[in-house]
Structures are given as structure tokens and as C-alpha cells.
């Protein structure tokens, strides 16, 4: 699912370039659940967004879901993000003025072709049912608990039927019980054949993952 070779990513800081990923290579198989751990600034989130096609400014070879990310146009990268990848964030990133269902169906607004848009109501309902929140489809995020919001965010990530789920500290803003529910959900998705890459600081998430990758100064330790 993920093949990275010699990835170098630098950020410009004032007048110098700071390497965040420094010749990183890794491989993740289909259906694997992998936790990425490491200290703050070690490049975990950078790795996640690079794999998800949000960051195209890197050196090296990155092949994800059969696509060579270095050769995709902006439109192709957008389609890749909308169809092949689902993102889950620590702070949920739900649009407050949209209902849970509308948030879940958000990728359909930008989808190319009519298929995904036509299927949006069915897909949205299915994704919410999968995370157990179908009955709250008409609620706005402000009326939901933290755990419920994160489950809506996961439903949004599942909406287009991606093969890869990328989660950045998904339990960071949740209480213990809600966090465990999310971890269980990720495990279930992984067992269903979805590849899950989770950036985390939490031991319980690492324990649930099939493999743990530790990043230190932009390299695998």
C-alpha cells in the first residue's frame, strides 16, 4: 500500500532549510495497522500528510495505493486525496455550520464525475451507521460529544471508500473511554482490509497497532 524510498522533506526556517524527513524509507502492506511514534518535531505528521498527498514538495520516491505521488498533477492529487485516502485529525476539523451528515458527505462536493455525488446520501448514511451515529445525522457538531465528533470525522474519512486511513493523534482530544472506542474502530477497519497509519503519542494506540515505527530526527529508529 505504501512504499517510500529515500524521502527527504525540508522546511525553510528564516534563511536556512531544516530537514524534517531525512532519507526516510518504509513499506506498509495492505490491511496493516501501523502506529508512527516519536518525539515532537520528529516528522510524524509531515510523514502522514506526505503519504496522504497533501504535501507534494519532497524528494525521493513515494508510491501510495499504486500511485507515484511525485508525478501526480494537482488535480490528480486532489482526486487521490478524495478517493484513496481518508484523514482523521486530533481536532476533528468538522465544519460547525454543517450537520453530521453534511460533514460526512463533504468529499462529494469536490468529487470528479457524478457517481460519488449521486451516491452521497447512501454512502453518508452507511458511513455514519458504520461508526454508530446514524441517528445523529442531522445534528451539528456543537451538539455532539468529543467522541461522537471524532466518529463523525472517521465516517467522513470512510465516505469515499478509501483503502488508506491516515490518523493524526486521533485520540489526543478524547477521554479514555472514547479513545478506546476509536482504537477499537481502527482495529476493526484494519481487520476489514483497510490500511491504517496512525501518528500517536499514546501507548494504548501503539499497542493496538500491528507494527510501530519510531521516528527520530526524520529517520526510522
Amino acid at each position: 500500500m505504501i512504499e517510500l524510498a529515500g524521502i527527504v522533506k525540508r522546511f525553510r526556517d528564516a534563511d536556512r532549510e531544516v530537514p524534517v524527513l531525512d532519507g526516510l524509507s518504509l513499506s506498509v502492506a495492505d490491511g496493516e495497522m501501523v502506529a508512527v511514534v516519536g518525539a515532537s518535531g520528529s516528522g510524524k505528521s509531515t510523514l502522514l500528510y506526505l503519504v496522504g498527498g497533501l504535501d507534494a514538495d519532497f524528494e525521493g520516491q513515494a508510491r501510495v495505493a499504486g500511485r507515484d505521488l511525485g508525478t501526480l498533477s494537482e488535480r490528480e492529487r486532489a482526486t487521490f486525496r478524495g478517493r484513496e485516502v481518508g484523514f482523521v485529525f486530533q481536532s476533528f476539523n468538522l465544519l460547525p455550520h454543517l450537520t453530521a451528515m453534511e460533514n460526512v458527505c463533504l468529499p462529494a462536493w469536490f468529487a470528479e464525475g457524478p457517481a460519488l455525488r449521486a451516491e452521497a446520501p447512501r454512502r453518508g448514511a452507511e458511513a455514519l451507521r458504520r461508526v454508530g451515529l446514524l441517528e445523529l445525522a442531522g445534528q451539528r457538531p456543537a451538539r455532539l460529544s468529543g467522541g461522537q465528533r471524532q466518529r463523525v470525522a472517521i465516517a467522513r474519512a470512510l465516505f469515499a471508500g478509501p483503502r488508506l486511513l491516515l490518523a493524526d493523534e486521533p485520540t489526543g482530544n478524547l477521554d479514555t473511554r472514547s479513545g478506546e472506542e476509536i482504537i477499537d474502530l481502527f482495529g476493526e477497519l484494519s481487520r476489514g482490509g483497510m490500511t491504517v497509519l496512525v501518528v500517536t503519542h499514546e501507548e494504548r494506540v501503539s499497542r493496538a497497532a500491528g507494527r510501530v515505527l519510531r521516528l527520530e530526527a526524520g529517520r526510522l529508529a
Binding site: S45, T46, Y49, E74, R81, F110
Partner: protein, 428 residues
């Protein structure tokens, strides 16, 4: 991204920040209101001025030059030869000579068949000019002949249609006499006159006899202070009273088009004659004054719209900064930078559309109010227009279009800022 999806999402975003959207929309609406109202007033007053100072764009009035070296160098008297020369000038399609009547003509009674309380003992001295029927084509009543009827017949005459308006709005109220009906209702009336009689001492001719004038039509081509007779009648009266031939008093030329008037006027001057363009100049000066005022006010309104555009720019820029994570999220779920740019521009476009629609509607209401107030408060002066504003349907399109343009142009900067958001760094 589909246009319908784009507009729906933009509308949702605006609704989410309802207060800001309302303020920005109101700013645009004020500008659009001002623009549409000023243009409507300018066009309305312009129409009123044209009504007040009618000037046929294709006509050139030729008069003898005040300084002339005689026919050797061209110019001099406006005789038949001069009329033929003027008619042959490039761009001239017709030439109609006019000759002022130098025999006094006076009315001592009101018109027959009209119950008009004519002041007893009042004598109305009538200045008259002889013209050819061609000049009055279209103004004569159907079947009316504009030719010399002979010494016994009623002389056909044509009045200025503006004279009736002046009479009804100034003379009739001042003298407390009946107002005259306007238009064709007066045609056919006969006025008994005394030919050769003058109210000026020593100007009455040796022979005075009764005659009748018959109104055959109304025309704006007749000077407001004169009455038009057939040219042959004027020639006959001059012969009867032994008036020496002094040539024509003026010649009206008709140019092929309004654009050719300046070149025709220049050719007339080169021929040694003068052009009487006082009426045209007055109309042009009045029209220009209204035009300049309209232009200045419209410029002010455009400035207001530009300020509204800046307000939208500032507001959207702040909004884009505040919504950086939201914009990054849209990119994470499949939006391109183009989609993000289009979304910000669509939000501005909707603000402009709403503000423009509201502004145009407010301008229409204000225009109606101004019109009603003007008609109620202003006195009933001659040539007072029926409306002081002109609000054609295309003015709605102008209000909407300029408002949308101002808003969208204002959003170009914020849209560009939105596309510069790095989703990876923003979401990390």
C-alpha cells in the same frame, strides 16, 4: 467542482458568518443604490432638459451674416440663388427658406368657436413668418393645405406646439382665462385678424382689412414667438403693401445625419452666411451640465462601491485567515487550490449579488419617492416633465453587475491568500 455545489457551499459559509455577510452586503447595497439612483436621476433630468430645449439634431439654421462683402465673395442676401447654393452643399438633403412678415397683423377678438374669455379691448400683435410646406411635413392636420388661399380665403397657419404649453402654464393663469386644450383639438379654429394694423404708433399701414387665420397644425419647427404662414401668403402681402424684397430672413437646412451637422455648418460659414445655433448651444450646454453632474455623482457612487469592495476584501481576508484549518480540510477531502479560489470568489459574488439586488431595488424605491416628491413640491411650470427619473430595466442589470464586479474584484486578494494556505502545515 460543480457550480451548484460551489454556490451552495459558499452560501452555507456566508450563512455561518451571517453578521459579517450582512454588513458586507449592506455596504455593497449602499453603493449600488447610489449608483442606480444617480443614473436614474441623471437620465430623467436629461430627458426633461431635452424636452425643455428641443433641438432637432439634423437641422441647421442659416441667417445672413452680420458682416458681408456681398455676393461677389459669396454670402450677402439670402435669395433664391443662395438657397439653391445652400441646398447643393454636401450632406444637405433639404433647404427651406423662411421670410418674416413685414406687414403688421393683429387680433382684436378671440378665436371663433372657442369660448375663451378674451380680454375686452385687448389687441394681440402677431409676429409671423412665411415658410414652405416641406418644413412642416407631418405637422399639418390631415387634408389641410398649406398654401395661399387668395385674398378672401382663411390663411392656414401653424403654431408652435410649445406656445400652447407656455400659454396654459403662464399666461392663462396670470390673466385668469381658460386654458386651451393641447394637441389636435385646436386644429381648425379660425382667428379673425386685421391685416395692416399695428399697436405701435405710426406703424399701421394705410390700408387695413379683415382676414381669417385658420389653425392647420402644431409644430416644434415654428419659433415659439411666431406664427407660420405659407411663404406665398407673405410674398403676396409684401406685394400688396409695397414692401421691397429683402430676401429671406433665414434658411433651414436638413443634414443627412446628425453627425454631418458640424461639416454642413462649416460649409455654410465658408459660403459667407452665419449659423444661428443659439437654441442648439443652449440645449447642448444644459445637456452637458446634466451629463457632467450625472457623471460626477456616478463616479462618487462607483467610489462607494470601490470602498464596499475594499471592505469585502478586508473582511474576506480576515475570514480566510480565520478559516485556514477549514480551507486546509477542504483540500484534504479533495478540493484543489482552484476550488478554494472559486469558493472565496463565489462567496464574494453572492455578497455582491445580494447587495446589488437589494441596492437596485432600494434605488427603484428611492427614485419613485424622489419623483413623487418632486411632482408634488415643484410648481406646474411650462414643460415640467411627467417624471424626473428614468429607470429602464437595464439599470437593474447595471446595479447588479457593478456590485458583483466590485465584490469579486475585492475578493481576488483573499482568494489568492486562500490558495497559498499550506494544508499539511495548517492541519499538522
Amino acid at each position: 467542482m460543480r457550480a451548484s455545489a460551489l454556490l451552495t457551499l459558499a452560501a452555507r459559509n456566508l450563512r455561518a458568518d451571517g453578521r459579517g455577510a450582512l454588513l458586507n452586503g449592506a455596504a455593497v447595497a449602499v453603493g449600488a443604490t447610489a449608483l442606480c439612483l444617480f443614473l436614474a436621476l441623471g437620465m430623467g433630468v436629461g430627458q426633461a432638459v431635452r424636452q425643455l430645449f428641443p433641438s432637432e439634431a439634423r437641422l441647421v439654421e442659416v441667417v445672413p451674416s452680420s458682416v458681408s462683402l456681398g455676393p461677389l465673395l459669396g454670402g450677402g442676401q439670402l435669395d433664391d440663388a443662395a438657397v439653391r447654393r445652400l441646398a447643393a452643399l454636401p450632406g444637405v438633403t433639404a433647404a427651406w427658406p423662411r421670410m418674416n412678415l413685414r406687414v403688421p397683423l393683429a387680433a382684436t377678438r378671440g378665436p371663433e368657436g372657442l369660448a375663451l374669455n378674451y380680454p375686452p379691448g385687448f389687441v394681440l400683435q402677431i409676429p409671423a413668418v412665411g415658410v414652405e410646406p416641406g418644413l412642416l411635413a407631418g405637422a399639418l392636420a390631415p387634408g389641410a393645405a398649406f398654401a395661399d388661399p387668395g385674398p378672401e380665403g382663411a390663411i392656414p397657419v401653424v403654431l408652435s406646439s410649445r406656445l400652447l404649453e407656455l400659454y396654459n402654464k403662464t399666461i392663462a393663469p396670470a390673466w385668469n382665462v381658460r386654458r386651451l386644450p393641447t394637441g389636435a383639438a385646436l386644429v381648425g379654429l379660425e382667428l379673425p385678424v386685421k391685416v395692416g394694423f399695428s399697436i405701435v404708433p405710426l406703424k399701421t399701414e394705410d390700408r387695413v382689412y379683415d382676414a381669417r387665420l385658420k389653425l392647420s397644425g402644431l409644430s416644434d419647427r415654428v419659433p415659439v414667438h411666431m406664427l407660420a404662414l405659407p411663404l406665398d401668403v407673405v410674398r403676396r402681402l409684401h406685394r400688396e403693401y409695397g414692401k421691397a424684397d429683402q430676401g429671406y430672413s433665414a434658411v433651414t437646412l436638413q443634414a443627412a445625419s446628425a453627425e454631418e451637422v458640424p461639416s454642413v455648418a462649416a460649409a455654410v460659414r465658408r459660403s459667407g452666411f452665419a449659423v444661428d445655433d443659439a437654441d442648439r448651444a443652449l440645449a447642448e450646454r444644459a445637456g452637458a451640465a446634466v451629463g457632467v453632474a450625472t457623471l460626477a455623482l456616478s463616479f462618487l457612487a462607483l467610489l462607494m462601491l470601490a470602498v464596499a469592495g475594499l471592505a469585502i476584501a478586508q473582511s474576506l481576508l480576515a475570514s480566510v485567515r480565520a478559516r485556514a484549518r477549514e480551507i486546509a480540510l477542504l483540500q484534504a477531502v479533495g478540493a484543489t487550490r482552484g476550488d478554494v479560489r472559486a469558493l472565496v470568489l463565489a462567496e464574494a459574488g453572492l455578497l455582491g449579488l445580494g447587495g446589488g439586488l437589494l441596492g437596485s431595488a432600494l434605488a427603484r424605491l428611492c427614485a419613485a419617492g424622489v419623483d413623487r416628491a418632486a411632482l408634488r413640491l415643484l410648481p406646474d411650470f411650462p414643460f415640467r416633465p411627467g417624471s424626473f427619473v428614468h429607470f429602464p430595466p437595464w439599470l437593474w442589470a447595471v446595479g447588479l453587475g457593478v456590485a458583483v464586479l466590485a465584490a469579486v474584484v475585492g475578493a481576488i486578494g483573499p482568494a489568492a491568500a486562500a490558495t497559498r494556505i499550506d494544508p499539511a502545515r495548517t492541519l499538522a
